[in-house]
Subunit: 321 residues, 2 copies
Amino acid sequence: MNNTSAIPRPAEGPWQNVTVVGAGVIGASWTALFLARGLTVTVCDPLPDVEKQVRDQLNESIPALRAHGLPTDDLAADLRFEADLERAVADAGAVQENGPERLDVKRDLFSRIEQAAPDHALLLSSTSGIRATDIAPALRQPGRLVIGHPFNPPHLVPLVEVVGGEQTDPEFVRRAVDFYTALGKKPRVLHKEVPGFVANRLQAALFREAVNLVLQGVVTEQELDEIVTSSIGLRWAVAGPFRSFHLGGGAGGLPAFLKHLGPALESLWRDLGAPVLDEATVTFLSEQANAGFGATTIEEMQAARDVAQSKVMRVLDDASS
Amino acid sequence: MNNTSAIPRPAEGPWQNVTVVGAGVIGASWTALFLARGLTVTVCDPLPDVEKQVRDQLNESIPALRAHGLPTDDLAADLRFEADLERAVADAGAVQENGPERLDVKRDLFSRIEQAAPDHALLLSSTSGIRATDIAPALRQPGRLVIGHPFNPPHLVPLVEVVGGEQTDPEFVRRAVDFYTALGKKPRVLHKEVPGFVANRLQAALFREAVNLVLQGVVTEQELDEIVTSSIGLRWAVAGPFRSFHLGGGAGGLPAFLKHLGPALESLWRDLGAPVLDEATVTFLSEQANAGFGATTIEEMQAARDVAQSKVMRVLDDASS
């Protein structure tokens, strides 16, 4: 590892000033969370109507923030906009980057950010697909760069996958964990950089079989959704797959489960489908979605989901405290 | 379809007497649910200590039933035991079979059940792997046989996958749905018989990648569980995978999602692992499970999970009503 002693420790209140670089859906959702948690937020995005877009999304996020027990009065009091990147990060304690998912863009952004931001600033990227190791060659201080990949929407869902690159300083990984923890998030450190990180890979694995079953006509998309929300979804909100199978093994736990049900599981693995998203498949899935979901607007569905989501999170927080 | 007109309609209160054939963990859990819902239950199992086992499990299920708002006073008042199969089903309105997962056993059980049970009785199997179509050749009235596959534990998790065989009468599929609905369950009819049905296939698909990520050292089993319970588990308790991606597509819904993120998804699909459960793998997974979960007893973990599960279900029921 490189020289941690040379890295300045954060000042008192090191994260009070946060800069959000790139204010699309993810960046605006981070902005809502940071503001609701009492931070001062500078939004940096070259889009001319960024201010309106962010303020609109802030307003949309208020019911979910409230359902989650967060204060929302005068939410935008500590919000400012600064289109110039260098000025935007000049007094940042943390920078959460949410730019386009292109390596050249990330390299350019972070090489400018690291020079303009204070030396103690946490440099965080929301990228879902680019490794810190691949951004690092563009940086003078790659030890400060940490991936902090949220599960969408970050103002609501607790997970942040925290991943350092080969040159990331472990001290900055720890600081990233402290930062997200202080925000009420559940940061989880991954020990290796893998494409898609963990949650999206698991999601992709399940979705592949979901597509397969719908294409085969076993169930419709809506029926499949109902099956998930009345079984494995409920289960995995409370206990993850390993714990669930540990409890499925009776007194012998996961070892007994694998011994007795492993062969049946492997037999299912061999039977899983491997569909491709060619044009005919995308058309089929899209038409079924429009027929099944089309009667309700996205906004209404999203608001209903976010409120239900917040209620589930609160009851689980209460259950574990 | 075969002659529905010849099939007797159920009498008044057609499901008041239910027979549970095979009283392992699943059968005893069904028994708890049936009793809590006010039915009279006859348990048929040749095991000498079946009565003690069932009564013990009934007591263990009381906190979860209560947390779910079901009455549990004098739960066993309408419970009886009858080891003789023909006598056990003689006045049954419904028979829920939970015997060993062997085709010859299922065929033998149902050929005896159909002869001894009333003509209107629903014949239901909890099998997770055997098709009604394959049991049917042993039966005189295969039209009555319906798979009613619960997600474990049935006294708690709402899903029942309802699947008829090629010779199953659609009228009996409808009756099975009515029966489970009357019990407060969420029956979902599958349109085709596929190995593992839907929920277990989806679960197997996700678990395969979970095993892959743990074997690769990206995360431990416990870290993976924490990632699931703080992201996709919470999400899928509220909205299934298609609805979630429909909302992930912005104003364009699932069609826009598939168009923009389909290629990234397919790229992840190609990168998913395909581990096998050989001895070394099972040992590795088992040792990590013992190290991670071993400090708490299975009973304690299960009780905590069931209570949390019930709370989540109640808050979602409230949210949707």
